[in-house]
């Protein structure tokens, strides 16, 4: 119900190597919402996620989180402020166990072992399959399980804003369904989510609001359900007839 957005991005420009990947993006996310950014490949979705988490520097523009300008803040300090990400391709720590991955997710929190363990138990309650595999090396799990782990690991940081970068990437349709059900469930737990996705249909079904990204620019925005019916969405992905 807050009026001030939790995340406010203004005219963000980011270069990725020699290419200008983001050409002036403005968006906002309010607390409690699920906002999605959809777009085809090369649109700049992952670059946006990296810029928000501080992995790529902003050439110009601003990122304001919870009223604080974090545009120049080093990435690792943004986690303490309340931004956590499940990155593109999961990037779980393959040679460490599921449990260790979760412990790492809470790295920035200065709490004792017991608090961490309690949180891990809570994550296992939400993701029972992870409990089964808690001592297994993360790299040996399936794609879907790794995605669950990546989300749980990000939640271990107790973030105010959860960034999800293409959670459906490389996953079978059945698993994608499961993941989106999980995402829907997260909203009920009062987690604010910015979701970047290639699978437009599912993303728009689960989101409150949506933006469409094409070659570094936002070309459309609106309510999730409304955009879903719009034929321009299909054209953005499959080209015009």
């Amino acid at each position: 119900m807050s009026d001030k957005p939790l995340l406010e991005v203004t005219d963000l420009q980011v270069h990725y190597g020699a290419v200008q990947a983001l050409r002036g993006i403005s968006l906002e996310v309010h607390a409690g919402e699920i906002v999605t950014m959809i777009g085809g490949n090369g649109a700049g979705k992952s670059t946006l996620m990296k810029a928000l988490s501080g992995l790529e520097p902003a050439a110009s523009g601003s990122i304001v989180f919870g009223g604080q300008d974090i545009t120049r803040l080093p990435g690792h300090q943004r986690v303490a402020l309340g931004i956590a990400q499940s990155p593109e391709g999961r990037q779980v720590f393959a040679d460490q166990t599921v449990r260790d991955n979760l412990i790492l997710g809470a790295y920035h929190r200065k709490v004792g072992r017991q608090a961490i363990d309690a949180d891990i138990e809570a994550q296992f309650d939400a993701f029972p399959r992870l409990r089964q595999r808690q001592d297994q090396m993360a790299g040996t799990m399936s794609g879907g399980e790794q995605q669950m782990l990546a989300i749980a690991r990000a939640l271990m940081a107790r973030p105010r804003l959860l960034l999800l970068d293409e959670p459906s990437l490389g996953l079978a349709p059945l698993i994608v369904k499961e993941i989106f059900a999980i995402i829907r469930g997260l909203q009920q737990r009062d987690v604010t989510i910015l979701l970047v996705e290639q699978m437009a249909n599912q993303a728009l079904a689960v989101a409150d609001r949506a933006y469409v990204l094409e070659t570094g620019r936002i070309t459309m925005q609106g309510m999730g359900r409304a955009l879903r019916a719009d034929p321009k969405i299909r054209a953005a992905y499959l080209g015009s007839h």
């Binding site: 501080g54 690792h76 990400q85 720590f93 790295y107």
Partner: protein, 306 residues
């Protein structure tokens, strides 16, 4: 015959543990930054000489001179170890900022040359301070030869073995069980994913270099009593340590340790048979391993992303 083999076994293991320590130093920085300090040998030498000077100072002498056996007690030895670790750690920070960080990610191998240059500078500073003649460091455990199974073993060799193994076990535990160790392994796997966890990657990397430099310094301190510790011994030792890493697998800490012991043993055994073939045999071993399994015995194949 069996006696000399046993003797060679002990000295080989002791020597091998030194190689293992230095190899671990290579492993830690290589895993986290894909670079390592080519001047590691000079760090080893510096460690040895700093320790000798500290011992001399503790005995009330000038920092240069000859140590008497009685002046080297276990307690003082421990203190000199502490001093070495502190100073070498600092040097590790310096080498990172001076020779590695300016050249990381540039492609090319400028950091190879800069660390070599840095090593040469360290060597010559050491030369200027301590001179070219070997420094004598008596062992804190005395020079009386022990007889184990008929073989003559220096107590220092046993000390080297014990301390090295203790250190390696310590590092292994830290890497596997502590929060910090997990963070280091996270940085080694992916520095961007580690940043997403709130890990300060730069701080971890600096720590890696501090540990690596300290390991080299400790290795120098340990080996000084059982070898002629001169300013010039660094390069060969570093090469053998690196060879151990190659044989065991540069990316795997346990591989580096295994490689170190293996190399030490082979060197001792070949030394028994034909002393002058020692170095060549190691070189041949490297070629052999490189041809058959280039990533090392316990290493993993790195697939290049295209």
């Amino acid at each position: 015959m069996a006696v000399s083999i046993l003797q060679a076994l002990f000295s080989g293991l002791a020597l091998g543990s030194i190689y293992a320590l230095v190899a671990l130093g290579f492993n830690i920085t290589h895993n986290t930054t894909k670079t390592f300090n080519f001047g590691q040998g000079e760090f080893l030498v510096a460690g040895a000489f700093i320790a000798v000077s500290v011992l001399l100072l503790l005995a009330g002498h000038d920092f240069k001179g000859t140590l008497q056996q009685t002046e080297v007690t276990l307690a003082r030895y421990g203190l000199s170890l502490l001093a070495t670790v502190l100073i070498m750690g600092l040097l590790g920070v310096v080498v990172y900022y001076a020779a590695i960080r300016p050249f990381i990610g540039q492609g090319g191998l400028a950091w190879v040359m800069s660390t070599i240059g840095f090593g040469i500078i360290i060597q010559n500073i050491a030369l200027a301070i301590w001179g070219p003649s070997p420094m004598v460091m008596p062992s804190p455990l005395g020079s009386e030869v022990l007889r184990i199974g008929g073989a003559g073993v220096l107590p220092q060799e046993i000390l080297v073995l014990c301390v090295s193994i203790a250190l390696m076990l310590c590092l292994d535990v830290v890497m596997r069980k502590t929060r910090l160790g997990k963070a280091v392994r996270a940085v080694a796997q992916s520095s961007s994913a580690a940043t997403l966890m709130g890990i300060n990657v730069t701080a971890i990397v600096v720590l890696a270099f501090v540990v690596s430099a300290s390991l080299a310094g400790i290795a120098g301190l340990l080996i000084a009593p059982i070898t002629t510790a001169s300013v010039f011994m660094g390069l060969t030792l570093a090469l053998k340590a690196f060879s151990s890493a190659i044989v065991g697998g540069l990316s795997n800490p346990r591989g580096c340790m295994l490689g170190g012991f293996l190399l030490g043993l082979i060197e001792a055994m070949v030394g028994l048979w034909h002393a002058e073939l020692r170095e060549i045999s190691i070189f041949l071993l490297i070629i052999f391993v490189l041809v058959l399994k280039p990533e090392g015995l316990l290493g993993q194949r790195v697939v290049e992303k295209v």
